[in-house]
Symmetry: D3
Subunit: 117 residues, 6 copies
Amino acid sequence: MSDLIKEFDDYRSRMNERLLSDDNKVIKRIFNLDTNAYMPGALDVKTKELLGLVASAVLRCDDCVKYHLKTSHEQGLTKAEIMEALSIATLVGGTIVIPHLRRAYEFWEELENLKID
Amino acid sequence: MSDLIKEFDDYRSRMNERLLSDDNKVIKRIFNLDTNAYMPGALDVKTKELLGLVASAVLRCDDCVKYHLKTSHEQGLTKAEIMEALSIATLVGGTIVIPHLRRAYEFWEELENLKID
Amino acid sequence: MSDLIKEFDDYRSRMNERLLSDDNKVIKRIFNLDTNAYMPGALDVKTKELLGLVASAVLRCDDCVKYHLKTSHEQGLTKAEIMEALSIATLVGGTIVIPHLRRAYEFWEELENLKID
Amino acid sequence: MSDLIKEFDDYRSRMNERLLSDDNKVIKRIFNLDTNAYMPGALDVKTKELLGLVASAVLRCDDCVKYHLKTSHEQGLTKAEIMEALSIATLVGGTIVIPHLRRAYEFWEELENLKID
Amino acid sequence: MSDLIKEFDDYRSRMNERLLSDDNKVIKRIFNLDTNAYMPGALDVKTKELLGLVASAVLRCDDCVKYHLKTSHEQGLTKAEIMEALSIATLVGGTIVIPHLRRAYEFWEELENLKID
Amino acid sequence: MSDLIKEFDDYRSRMNERLLSDDNKVIKRIFNLDTNAYMPGALDVKTKELLGLVASAVLRCDDCVKYHLKTSHEQGLTKAEIMEALSIATLVGGTIVIPHLRRAYEFWEELENLKID
């Protein structure tokens, strides 16, 4: 696994575990909801992942973008689909999204290399 | 047509026309890109409309939400699909999205009434 | 009750009811969490209302500000306490908060008049 | 004076007066700073007004945009200069700025009509 | 002192000093106001620190969050109080606040370790 | 060249190249527009760079701020002009801009050292 992906994964997992070991119920329920919201329903999982990706990109949250890129990759979304979603995010959110687009593109390319390995 | 929809449409059309009669090229090209970005490509039009809707909702732009609700309705998206997309937006963007969700829900219901007429 | 307060209350109640009659579970749970998060715990209700008020003010959500002003007023918070909280919001969030501060101040004054009635 | 401009001016003046009659020192000083920051210095007043306008537009604060349009108009800035500044705001801030651009354009046209009267 | 805390403190102190050695009066006054706004008044210092913390968290400013965590810790606020404040921030600001919550939690735990040392 | 500037430049150039080698037309056109928008027109290049800088600062995009500081420096803007623009950004955008102001100040000082070399 690439360093970029591994570093992101490790920190996220470790801190989520520590956060959830804390007894704050509101935070636990928000984490729980976050899992439920992306389950298949009227919309399929792929579409929901793209919605999460675009919401994260326009709000310029790099870690959220990385998380949805990773799950999108696991769901078999293609680079062309990801780039179209991110192009809408860049248009709606403006050129301030571009630095996040650069980091998203780098992360996606590492995810694709990973697949080949 | 309901007053809410008509008022939104009329103001938007009238002001877009005035804006585009101005000779600012950057603004004209952004409007042009806005049309192109939602054309079918690797993703279909329905998915793209949902992406535009969620981006607009988390950025809390009522007029942008209304616009994407209208085009989503024209594309045949169902209320359940719209509500799932908006539920992701509310989760990602937080409870400050709720007032916009109320106005979106009202607008969608008027769009559906319109269909019956 | 003043028109400003009544109009806000009526629209909010009517649309919340319509939203919750819809069968989207994620949205229902977010509404539910929103009630739980402001219950007394390690922090008392007054402090939590002020936190909700300041979060709403820096994110510039007028309806959220009005809601927290109303509950703050019901909890017996004073104008001086509200203004100190809003002054922190204006400093942290910048002068773009000022138009929202004007509307918040007007709403609070109507809430206080209401008390006298 | 047009109704749009008069309504904006009247509410803003009335509420600023009420806000400043309150004894919150932090808010008073922020208002004071707001006056000082746009005084001529290393940059002239016209440039500073354009900076205030673009900051307001990308942060999507209609009242702030109107205020800076009004002072920009008083300072003799031209429509072409205003539109170039707003085109940069729309590019940097994305298409969610467009509804604010429509309202800004309408307000500016009313300011220009006013000049003729 | 932990590396995380020390690195944050050192950079912040060094750059604030350089910024304030510059002769820009508006920036100096904003720094000055920032000190005054958190002084005891109608609200006590603990409440004001929590307000600053929540405002910083929903606006997703990691350095601002760290600063308020540090002062909150010095003021004797407990982990349970901090977590309730941050749970409100996460609910109001949405799941995009979660990556900042992870970093805030890590920083707070280091502050508590520090206390034991 | 300082490490801070070199690192920013290298990553930006490398990733822009990779992004533009992808065949997404919307993204290519946004990049293209980004070049056109800062060309001389009714406003000169210096003013436009300051507008881009302030828009980037209030939206708290460090990489965008660095980019506009670099071009502003190449255009011969002075430190006093940059600081006045950034003071307006800090006032309009609030104290959450301060961490970005620290990083902007550090970057500008490195740009000025570079000039002497």
